[in-house]
Symmetry: none
Subunit: 186 residues, 4 copies
DNA sequence: GATGAATGAGCCTTCATTCAT
DNA sequence: GATGAATGAAGGCTCATTCAT
């Protein structure tokens, strides 16, 4: 039963992450529970408050960010330029922007959960070390901080709600590439 | 009496736009009516559906976009570079991003209102003409379309909900400047 | 419409008072609204918080307490003993006890509503003046305060939930009479 | 193992009784199980229905009532007046009133459990015998029955929810004393 | 034409109860 | 036998929308 509960917990985090990214911050909890295939009360058992659910997502994202920075550090020396571009695109693929409104929600009622603060600090540190490599290699302006860089990437990858104009491009790699060029020193 | 009604209509549009930009997309209709100083039924009289209110806002925004393009066209020849930068920043100041969730809402129920499509087309045309000047002057990559450019600007100016971390910079001009650099040809 | 709204407001207060006394403090708001013949949202429009509804009831009760004290004061001189007994029984008939759990509820979240405090003070003052007459006439021990007297009466008139034993007497006048005797000086 | 189960059963009854008296009738079952230091399923194993738990409490209370009546009977002849007063106060200390809402709950679904009826009858009989002594000694009016007397004591010892007025006295011995005086013959 | 009162639908949250381990 | 995870049902509350004045 312990492993079964863990599976449901993971299903809930996955469902929440997917639906938040897909349908915006107003997804009903009932929809998350349904997507995960569990009852609403099960969601509350695993995540008593909204913050707890957010922290659950952040834990996943945190691990994935560390994957990105680790891989980038390993391949940096052999091909810095390609490594840098892959790093930024990999970070962008995490769709960090989808988490912004959730983080904001946790703020309304209280101070951010301690665990979230800790994880965020660690991730920012790891990203900062990659940014230092990039600054040294001339890929990144010296004045841009890890917070700014991450926030910028989050902003331009923040999911748009479905927009009723067919000519709106769904691919946003052009914007990411522009961001990469835009943060380069002159 | 006609002018009185017109004043209330304008007050409603201004209130809606202000509150959407300020408090996010979840502002209750009652709050909009209250901000405009009218009853809720008056809002419904002027704007029977949600889309009608959005169209009302779009009309205002449309006029302001045309202001930007017109002014930019007038000053272009004397100082193209400064004119281009001012244009981008002026567009950014319109905070087009604040409208995105509202536009999305109108999509859920129906096809976008004809009037909105018409206005959007006109604005995109005017922006496109400025972009052509910029492309010729070497400020903008040829492959970037008016839709992409506008959407990019909207994305990076989309209001963030309040975030519970004090180290997040509230000023976003650095991102706009990075965008301007990033859309430049190599 | 104004008078119509007032009628509904009164119906809500009456329904709430009746159901609180009859079914205890856990009556769902839906039941109160249904008893008053209005929708649930109408209840919330008239009484945005639980406290507001309680205050509404207290206003009614307050007026009735003042009726009791006034009448008692008028007839006192002609027949003090009968007047005193009638006064206590009339107070008991108000079933003040039914309000106790409600007052407690308002306390959990916040300090008691100012209006409630004011009305309570006035009612206690009026009751206190009658008690002074009773003390002088030898009907009441000197050490018993208005608060104690009222609370005692509230306690012994607090409604019981329906109890599944048929031999439980529903009439409680014997207890009230015992109270009257018990507060007399030796 | 039998004694282990018995210990848990007793812990559950004690927890339920304590929490009902302390936090009111709305205590969740999970809180009772937690207070007793067992899982929720264990509570259900020992007490399949709500009535069963109530009966468990009644058994304890019943034994304590018999203690009171027995002791009172033993000391009656040497000092009747003191014995009577001690008896009433001991009964009051049992806080029978705290059980009233629970008894009521068992009534909603069904007829009272047979075991409860039997225990109640025995306790009422024992109390009745003490009351007879008191009537003979001139401490108690002849017309007051054992049910009335017990109910009266339960009513005046029923726990009040916390009340938000600081001038409300928490001590209620004055009311019990008034009750003792009030039930005396003239 | 303007007002705001009334309404039902929907989401959030808790709790009693059952079931798999 | 004991545990605690899972569940649906129910109440609290808000909001978009309609109607009577």
């Amino acid at each position: 039963m312990r492993s079964d509960a863990m599976a449901k917990r993971n299903a809930l985090v996955a469902a929440a992450r997917h639906l938040y990214a897909d349908r915006g911050p107003d997804v009903p909890f009932t929809a998350i529970a349904a997507e995960a295939g569990v009852g609403i009360a099960t969601l509350y058992r695993h995540f008593p408050t909204r913050s707890d659910l957010i922290v659950g997502i952040i834990e996943q994202v945190h691990a994935e960010i560390l994957d990105c920075t680790t891989r980038c550090g390993e391949e940096w020396d052999s091909h810095p330029a390609g490594s840098w571009l892959r790093f930024v695109r990999a970070l962008a693929d995490l769709r960090l922007g989808a988490l912004i409104p959730q983080l904001a929600l946790t703020a309304l009622a209280e101070t951010p959960p301690e665990e979230a603060v800790r994880l965020r600090g660690r991730a920012l540190g790891a990203v900062g070390r990659v940014l230092d490599l990039a600054k040294t290699a001339g890929f990144l302006r010296r004045e841009i901080t890890a917070v700014e860089f991450s926030l910028g990437l989050a902003i331009i990858t923040r999911p748009l709600p479905a927009i009723p104009f067919s000519d709106v491009p769904s691919d946003r790699s052009w914007l990411i590439d522009a961001f990469v060029r835009g943060v380069r020193p002159d």
